[in-house]
Symmetry: C2
Subunit: 243 residues, 2 copies
Amino acid sequence: MKRVTVDTSMAGVAGPSLLAVPFLQRAGSGPVQLFSDAQRQLLASHASVRVFPARTVIYRAGAPAEALFIVGSGVVKSFRDLPSGRRRIATFLFPRDLFGLAEAGRYVNTLQAITPVRVHQLDIHALTELFERDAALEFQFLCKAVHVLREAQHHNIIVGRRDAGGRVAMLIRLLEKQSAAARGEPVPIPMSRSDIGNYLGLSLEAVVRASGRLERQGIVEFVDRHHVRIIDRRRFDALASNV
Amino acid sequence: MKRVTVDTSMAGVAGPSLLAVPFLQRAGSGPVQLFSDAQRQLLASHASVRVFPARTVIYRAGAPAEALFIVGSGVVKSFRDLPSGRRRIATFLFPRDLFGLAEAGRYVNTLQAITPVRVHQLDIHALTELFERDAALEFQFLCKAVHVLREAQHHNIIVGRRDAGGRVAMLIRLLEKQSAAARGEPVPIPMSRSDIGNYLGLSLEAVVRASGRLERQGIVEFVDRHHVRIIDRRRFDALASNV
DNA sequence: CGGACTATTGAGACTCCTCAACTAACGTGG
DNA sequence: CCACGTTAGTTGAGGAGTCTCAATAGTCCG
């Protein structure tokens, strides 16, 4: 049996699910489920579920934007290939993440499945019509867009670091949050070293060397290439926070 | 008389104004004014105009978020001070830009005026109430949020470059777009070298050296510290595009 | 005319990138 | 089931670029 991405609370839930930190709410600083059950059902009736094998390109940069997508399960990468031949991964998308926000009717980034993926596809015109009738639903998408913006700014800060080790640590921490793995359990790393490099603004080799350094220092342990365990939590946090 | 920021089409216009590339529209790829006259008037009746001298802190990171702001005139910087003592400027804000999008009821970045600034202040609760009644208005804010996200991703790409010269060129290009200066005219640089460094992920010295290099190569000419003229457009564009 | 801040220039250390060779893992087809 | 080819990952050596520290010049304000 192939890898199955952990899906904490979508099991049995009908319809798409969005995760974000709303900008109003004050209590509880963590991300929450944005949609009400009624909203999920409403969206579900306008959405189609699609499944992609690993490595499938879901859409390419520049293609006409006809749909928004919400990740149900699996991991997706969003990237652009630059004229220099370099590739910049803008973000990794996990369950309850949104992608497909376009500019002037065209997609900006190319989206590709890293693992087998299940997504909810929402027709963009149907959705905007829904917005006109349901301002509360629209507000959830606004919250999500703002949340995504925060993550992009955080990504900026990560890439701004000069030390490779710290950047790798920040990625591992990000993966840990997503995996919802218990402390001490290995954190899954779904993407390749090359993807990590393209996300962190490092060469593939720099990622490997920084990873090896973290391991030799006793901060983490790579169970295999796709699983890392955090050994020394204090030094790990110090490293990841020491921006 | 003090510097007066150029304000292309806000003169005589009542109410706040937002600029973005909507994600639906296909024709005309440039940014457009989002609000209708009616929407501007509606917002104006709920907004208060505030004026800040240069260097004023408009709000600090972590403060309770009570309002959204739209820049009327002047330039603002949005930044965070990191534990290491470094400062990362997330973005510069120009007329028709939006700021104050919070997370869990608190501002994320510190906002500070670079030049004298005039802003429209919108009470966050009043605005969300407006959204409930006016989905079209809310949609404009959604468009703007998505547009800001694109800019953050573009910023990511800039910072990801390895060569200082290219990064500086990209900043100058960004300033040129904002200034709406005629080709061949000097482009105003409202912020300090230090701000530029914090935005580009370079040390102050690296900014100076890269600038000097661009000048010695005959690509640009610094009229004074706050004005640069693009001499060799072709090489300039090649540099700025060669990500 | 000070005084404080901003900008510029120089020298050395450090880190990552590039190139290159090599090993490991994976998947396919015989 | 194994051999092979392809992709992903690892390690080493050398070079390019920025960072830091330090000292100096320039600019803006009161």
